[in-house]
């Protein structure tokens, strides 16, 4: 019930907002605030209810959605199936918090409020749906639907080049979705649902009577060709897609069958297709170029949501879909994947160093930090995977904070160039303090969350038997680069005597550079505290993830 509420409460809120008359404009943001606050409470409830020591998915809700007998082609079945485990729950909680902060950050918005908040809540619902959906079809539905509100939020409320940025973001992600869709259909045709098939084959009367033994018997029947194709129920259920024994023996994506396409086994091709689909979302170099544009053009709250939550769907997709459904591909190409992670770390860091626009610098730092996620996942060690999930949560908190920091300055002067400012510490001491905290936390100062995420992914990289040590050694330069671009920016913008580009502020710097308002503090201080809390007590996350990750890794220890 909790998970369905997480999805449908914001969708309902979105509908209500869309139906309210424009004269109620003052209430729109309050409605959005109440809904996102309720989301935080619901996510908190899920966190408390979750039993971290138990294996498998929890808080499961299942309902038949589409069942279609296709004659000799078998039976098509799509379920409404939601649930969480240690991989998705931390991201659900993160999303709830970031979406709430996004609403507070939207408070200054003045035009087209109805459309804005309606789309914002639609986005909230689809993001939650993405993280809790356990039916691939349902996941894809939310994944695709997320593009719509995002397209409009950037395209209507963005900066000067918003049309370009929004269409670029849309097309890029859509291309990725297309690859995912192809693989999804391939998987669907290749996999049976053992529980429903048992019912269809007349082995048991109803699904609740299906035991593990019956499932195993059925899987043996399937592999021996003792099931007629009309009896097989095809499924999008992720739990069954992840189990190699459910693959039809002559199926396209069966690990044993392996038809060759374009010189690659079909499964490897499918692996790369779905990897690229999610790599665009994360993003990984070289499919990252939508990100700087989207971030720079998006309004502050949308940047916060984009960096804080949307990127994580890429990393989540790696763990839930790419690596889990194609462990053979992940093992085969572990070095290439780790190399791509390292490339992202170093390339993103160097690009961040060269930026003159503060927001673009932070956008590229995101590319660098997401590289750690891929490195951790590719390492196929418990440290690496736990670290990758942790890094996603940590980056969600910190990038939200960093983009808010840019937003504070942009609200005052409408100028984001680093060289337009000097000595901001004098007129804006509180702002400077919080910026220093955010910068140091991001560059991996021990005690803050950034450090733990990077440490564990790097530890995973070094311990991994799949990745060479030098690869991880190169990745450590990412931390050095992060220190370089953050500290250099700090030095250029905040230290020294106060100066602002005169064009932006003809009456002198003190006229425009007022310190943080109460609303801004309300957003930044809790995020800073969260970064500190996570840094001091990393077990808040690791307790949730470790059992799931241990179970997740079993596939890779066998091979």
């Amino acid at each position: 019930m909790i998970l369905s509420l997480l999805i449908f409460l914001p969708l309902l809120g979105s509908l209500v907002l869309a139906l309210l008359p424009e004269s109620q404009a003052v209430r729109f943001r309050w409605i959005a605030l109440v809904v996102t606050l309720a989301e935080v409470v619901l996510a908190g409830a899920a966190y408390v209810t979750f039993d971290a020591s138990a294996r498998g998915y929890q808080l499961l809700e299942q309902a038949d959605w589409i069942t279609l007998p296709l004659g000799s082609l078998g039976i098509a079945s799509i379920d409404y199936l939601v649930g969480v485990d240690g991989i998705s729950l931390p991201l659900v909680v993160l999303s709830a918090v970031v979406m709430l902060v996004g609403v507070i950050s939207s408070w200054t918005l003045t035009h087209r409020l109805k459309a804005y908040y309606s789309l914002y809540l639609l986005l909230t619902g689809t993001i939650m749906g993405c993280f809790v959906a356990l039916d691939f079809f349902l996941f894809f539905l939310f994944f695709e639907f997320m593009l719509l509100p995002m397209y409009f939020l950037i395209g209507l409320w963005g900066g000067p080049r918003r049309e370009y940025a929004s269409i670029k973001f849309f097309l890029y992600t859509l291309l990725g979705s297309l690859l995912i869709l192809l693989v999804m259909i391939g998987l669907y045709l290749s996999v049976m649902d053992p529980v429903s098939t048992a019912v269809a084959a007349g082995l048991v009367a109803d699904p609740s009577a299906v035991t593990d033994d019956i499932v195993r018997t059925l899987q043996t029947y399937l592999q021996n060709g003792q099931l007629s194709s009309a009896q097989i129920v095809h499924t999008f259920d992720m739990r069954y897609l992840a189990d190699g024994s459910n693959y039809l023996p002559d199926a396209f994506l069966n690990p044993a069958a392996e038809p060759i396409i374009l010189g690659l086994p079909a499964r490897m091709l499918a692996f790369w297709a779905v990897f690229i689909g999610f790599a665009i979302k994360l993003p990984i170099v070289p499919v990252h170029t939508w990100l700087p544009d989207a971030h720079v053009e998006a309004p502050t709250p949308v940047s916060v949501v984009l960096a804080g939550v949307l990127l994580k769907i890429g990393g989540y997709g790696f763990l839930r879909i790419v690596w889990d459904f194609f462990p053979d591909g992940a093992a085969e190409y572990a070095q290439v994947l780790g190399g791509l992670g390292v490339l992202s770390i170093v390339y993103g860091g160097l690009n961040a160093l060269a930026q003159t626009d503060l927001k673009k610098m932070i956008a590229y730092s995101s590319v660098s930090h997401m590289g750690f996620v891929l490195l951790g996942v590719a390492s196929l060690t418990a440290e690496g995977i736990n670290g990758a999930i942790y890094q996603m949560v940590s980056h969600g908190v910190l990038s939200a904070m960093l983009f808010l920091i840019v937003g504070v300055l942009y609200d005052r002067t409408h100028d984001r160039r680093i060289d337009s400012y000097r000595g901001l510490m004098q007129p804006m001491p509180r702002y400077t303090t919080l910026t220093i905290i955010a910068f140091f936390a991001s560059l991996g100062l021990p005690g803050f969350s950034g450090f733990v995420g990077e440490l564990f992914t790097l530890m995973g990289g070094f311990q991994s038997s799949w990745l060479p040590g030098w690869m991880t050694a190169i990745a450590t330069t990412g931390i050095l680069l992060a220190a370089a671009y953050f500290l250099w920016t700090l030095q250029r913008m905040f230290f020294g005597s106060t100066w602002v580009r005169p064009f932006e502020s003809p009456s002198g710097p003190t006229a425009v550079l007022t310190d943080l308002t109460a609303r801004e503090k309300l957003m930044l201080i809790p995020l800073g505290l969260m970064a500190l809390l996570l840094g001091l007590f990393p077990n808040l996350i690791f307790n949730l993830t470790s059992t799931t990750v241990g179970q997740w890794l079993v596939k890779f220890s066998v091979e």
Binding site: K168, L171, Y172, P286, T289, W290, Y347, L350, N351, L353, A354, Q355, L481, A484
Partner: protein
């Protein structure tokens, strides 16, 4: 340290910014802790015999496990300290153009080396990569976008002139054919009979 001591406390007063009259003894808040630290740093608190620490309270509480004594260690180190102090105290003002002084003043030029071999190349690489990212990677993406639009325009032209051209052409052909056959149906009985006879002859010729 000996040289510092000499430069600060001996000889002519040299500080030009603060006159001698303003120099004064520190207050007890500063002097007290310093005096205490100075007192405690005297060797006798550790060991009364400066040449051997065997009788020290330290080793009474924490006895050393292995007794390896170098009897010459203490005298030699004390001798080295005295020698260094003497050199430092006697040292004349070094020439600032000497290479050792220059090396020491600029930390062995390590900063310069780091600047030219690490920092500067990294920054240049960053700028180059940033340009590559903008021009090549993003250029590629935009190129794909632009070429798709160009392709779309080509398709439009193709659709209008070729695909639609075939449809229009067929219509045109039909109407032309209609126009041609209309002239045959002119209502004159003679021409109908002529056409029928010619047709009959053609059929016969084809059969035979």
């Amino acid at each position: 340290m000996a040289r510092q001591w000499r430069l600060i406390f001996f000889g002519e007063y040299r500080n030009k910014t603060i006159p001698l009259t303003q120099a004064h003894e520190p207050n007890w808040l500063m002097r007290g802790p310093v005096a205490l630290l100075a007192l405690l740093s005297i060797g006798i608190w550790f060991s009364i015999n400066p040449l051997s620490a065997h009788g020290s309270w330290f080793f009474q509480i924490l006895p050393a496990l292995e007794e390896v004594s170098f009897w010459w260690l203490a005298p030699v180190s004390i001798g080295l300290v005295l020698l260094g102090g003497w050199i430092g105290f006697r040292m004349t003002e070094p020439r600032t153009d000497s290479i050792f002084v220059q090396l020491s003043l600029s930390y062995g030029f390590l900063d310069v080396v780091y600047y030219y071999f690490v920092i500067s190349p990294t920054r240049k690489l960053a700028i180059v990569l940033s340009r590559t990212d903008k021009r090549i990677l993003d250029g590629l993406v935009n190129g794909v976008g632009v070429s798709t639009v160009v392709l779309a325009h080509l398709a439009r032209v193709l659709d209008r002139s070729v695909v639609d051209g075939v449809v229009n052409g067929a219509a045109w052909l039909a109407s032309q054919l209609g126009r041609m056959t209309r002239s045959v149906q002119n209502g004159q009985v003679q021409s109908y009979i002529t056409a029928a006879v010619v047709g009959l002859l053609l059929v016969l010729w084809w059969i035979l």
